[in-house]
């Protein structure tokens, strides 16, 4: 006797949409149990964790600021992933955008001209897109695995930035610490309220444009078809090569935009490290949001809430950070488990050779 995962003959579309909600609900229940185990009142703990960040204008602003880069990057990644192209190097493209945009800032911010910030944002997009095109070209031209090349290029970008802020771009008045000068107002993203900056609006625009493109345009259809059935796509005249370049450029460009917004906004200067791993966390956000721009918007906020809530829980309840880390892991686990069980079912089967529809088939 053994357990076997079998693909369901019919999948419920409704349940597919409900799956992330169920996963979040299960996470909340698990959180309550864990809080009780470590001796914190679960009701108060859940409130501090999941609700408190939403109760003040400041909390909402901070949520948007934290979620914004995650969503920007994840939207780009989702387009890649739908096309069955695996860009794992968004972190590097984010840094590349920060570098090229930051260069514009350092070169021109003392002119005070109004075009400096738009030029920075454009340079950020270009930097990220060009950097994303490297693994794309390597894949199309030489058949190099883009998972490996894009991932390894992350470290190249990070060390490049590290070298720049230690060397040529170091603040001469900064006691030799590795950081650039702080950008003057002409090179900073304007604030709306608190730390809420205009970049958040750009992020919302990107979400809407991506949603329309994926759902309504021929390009969106092409990405979908080539991703699901490249052979069928070829019959339809869709070429995989150019599409790979396109999706890498788009996701790289969006990651680069996120990078330059972060550098020109909340950070305000170039530092050796300009990201606490946004490019990697965005992969989780993309899947949590079911590779759908609107879903990603929600998922980005869910992840931001768990981060902010984790800090609040440390401050107000003295709950250790490990609790937050475990909870984020639990959330991912439930998301994957729910997805798997909606697409597949578990059956107890007698020992014997595996059935043709058995678990050897990939869960996707």
């Amino acid at each position: 006797m053994r357990l076997e995962l079998q693909r369901r003959p019919q999948q419920s579309r409704a349940m597919l949409l409900w799956s992330p909600v169920i996963a979040v609900a299960l996470t909340v229940v698990t959180a309550a149990v864990m809080l009780a185990v470590i001796g914190v009142d679960p009701a108060r703990g859940l409130y501090v964790f999941f609700v408190e960040p939403l109760t003040s204008a400041w909390g909402l602003q901070e949520l948007a600021v934290k979620a914004s880069p995650l969503i920007l990057i994840a939207v780009g990644l989702s387009i890649c992933f739908i096309a069955n192209v695996w860009n794992i190097g968004a972190e590097g493209q984010y840094v590349a955008g920060a570098i090229l945009g930051g260069w514009v800032a350092l070169a021109f911010h003392d002119t005070g001209a109004v075009w400096v910030l738009p030029a920075m944002l454009a340079a950020g997009v270009v930097g990220g897109a060009l950097y994303g095109l490297i693994p794309a070209v390597l894949k199309v031209r030489f058949g190099a695995n883009e998972i490996l090349t894009s991932l390894m290029l992350v470290y190249v970008a990070q060390l490049g930035l590290d070298w720049l802020v230690r060397g040529p771009w170091r603040d001469p008045m900064g006691f030799n610490f590795p950081q650039s000068v702080t950008f003057l107002p002409a090179a900073t993203v304007p604030l709306i309220a608190g730390r809420l900056h205009v970049g958040v609006i750009l992020m919302l625009v990107v979400v809407v444009v991506a949603a329309v493109m994926m759902a309504r345009s021929l390009k969106g259809f092409e990405i979908r078809v080539v991703g699901m059935a490249p052979r069928a796509g070829r019959f339809g005249g869709f070429k995989e090569g150019p599409l790979t370049l396109f999706v890498f450029a788009v996701s790289g460009g969006l990651a680069g935009l996120a990078g330059i917004i972060e550098v020109a906004g909340p950070i305000g200067q170039l530092l050796p490290s300009v990201s606490p791993g946004y490019g990697f966390i965005a992969i989780i956000v993309a899947f949590l949001g079911r590779l759908n721009p609107v879903g990603i918007l929600v998922a980005g906020f869910v992840l931001a809430i768990s981060t902010l809530g984790g800090e609040q829980a440390q401050i107000l309840l003295q709950v250790p950070l490990d609790f937050t880390s475990v909870l984020q892991g639990v959330l991912l686990f439930y998301v994957l488990a729910c997805d798997t069980l909606i697409v597949n079912r578990i059956r107890l089967v007698a020992s014997g050779p595996r059935t043709a529809t058995g678990s050897s088939e990939a869960v996707r």
Binding site: F175, R195, Q269, V274, Q314
Partner: protein, 358 residues
């Protein structure tokens, strides 16, 4: 499935309905700490946490203190510090260099709250800075290494080539040269303050390259453990790491913040707090040396004598002649480098086998 779903949704709703517990009325001073690493790193953050606990212990019911750990440097730090302000904390210690800009921004917005930033150089009327002259301990370590090394090569694990670390390397080198002018120091940068895996690998690489003593400017005891496995000797960092290498540790540079934290919180309670710039060494108690172990008595006596002369102020570590790598003199014979020169140090002394961080 449906029943289960209902249950889950009900639980969600229940959680959302619960209101915030009312804040307790109390006159305690709320003190917040922002840590860059986990409290269990047995290094930098752990020592700040011990300082916090000692302060809480000493001041008891006059103070309520809390901490946030593993806070990334940069914009996330600003949110955490602001969060502490908004939850009523009136004195906030931010304990990593990378929190500087964030601390400055929040301090400017909240002039009624007092801030203290470790290892930074930007001050405000409500923002003090504090740091330790840990290079003093590295000079003593250098002397011990020169006496104890058989191969004449010391492996040095560096975090980031910032002035604090560079001056530490120079102090260590000056110590070795005072005993044995031909000593070699090999440096491996791990580009992290806390990464036990990388630190351990760096230690292995350095031992493979002929080093028989490991010194470190990173925060975990991983290098100590590797040295212990390989039968080499090592210096601890931040805390007494003797339990990770009972037959390995020569001494350790201990950061003891408890006295400072007690003084500063007391000052805030008494209304005598001022924005100060403290850079304390052996004499302040911020720097302590772990017991000198795994060495002969004469080496131990030498180390204790050096420690005493630095403690008394009769000997300054950066006393000339100090020659830079390019052969120019940084300090004439008998001249003592002023503090700003040490705080902004971006050059190596002659004998360091590494290019300057430029």
């Amino acid at each position: 499935m449906r029943a289960f779903l209902k249950g889950a949704i009900a639980a969600l709703g229940l959680a959302a309905l619960v209101a915030a517990a009312p804040a307790e009325a109390q006159e305690k001073l709320k003190v917040g700490f922002v840590y860059v690493g986990p409290v269990g790193d047995f290094g930098w953050t752990y020592q700040h946490e011990l300082g916090r606990r000692a302060m809480q212990e000493a001041l008891g019911d006059k103070v309520e203190s809390t901490y946030v750990e593993n806070v990334p440097e940069g914009p996330d730090a600003e949110r955490v510090i602001e969060g502490l302000v908004r939850s009523g904390h009136k004195l906030i210690f931010t304990t990593s260099f990378g929190f500087m800009e964030a601390t400055v921004k929040v301090a400017q917005r909240n002039p009624e709250v007092k801030f203290e930033h470790a290892t930074g150089y930007k001050r405000l009327p409500n923002l003090a800075t504090y740091a330790g002259r840990f290079y003093q301990g590295r000079y003593i370590s250098g002397q011990i290494a020169a006496k104890m090394s058989k191969t004449g090569v010391v492996g040095y694990i560096g975090s980031f080539p910032i002035p604090e670390v560079v001056s530490g390397i120079n102090a260590f080198m000056l110590g070795t040269q005072s005993i044995r002018p031909d000593m070699k120091v090999k440096i491996v940068w791990v580009n992290s303050w806390f990464d036990p895996g990388k630190e351990g690998d760096a230690a292995k690489a350095l031992l493979d390259q002929g080093a028989d003593i490991i010194a470190q400017h990173t925060d975990s005891p991983a290098a100590m453990q590797v040295a212990a496995e390989r039968g080499a000797l090592a210096f601890g960092q931040d805390s007494d790491m003797i339990k990770f290498g009972p037959n390995t540790q020569l001494t350790s540079i201990i950061n003891d913040w408890s006295g400072y934290y007690i003084d500063r919180v007391n000052a805030a309670l008494n209304g005598t707090w001022e924005s100060t710039d403290v850079w304390g060494g052996l004499d302040s108690g911020i720097l302590k040396m772990a017991p000198y172990t795994n060495m002969p008595d004469d080496v131990k006596a030498m180390a204790e004598a050096t420690q005493k002369s630095i403690h008394d102020g009769t000997y300054k570590v950066f006393t000339g002649p100090i020659t830079k790598q390019d052969g120019t003199l940084a300090a004439q014979a008998g001249e003592v480098l002023p503090d700003p020169a040490i705080l902004g140090m971006n050059w190596y002394i002659q004998g360091v086998d590494e290019k300057a961080p430029n």
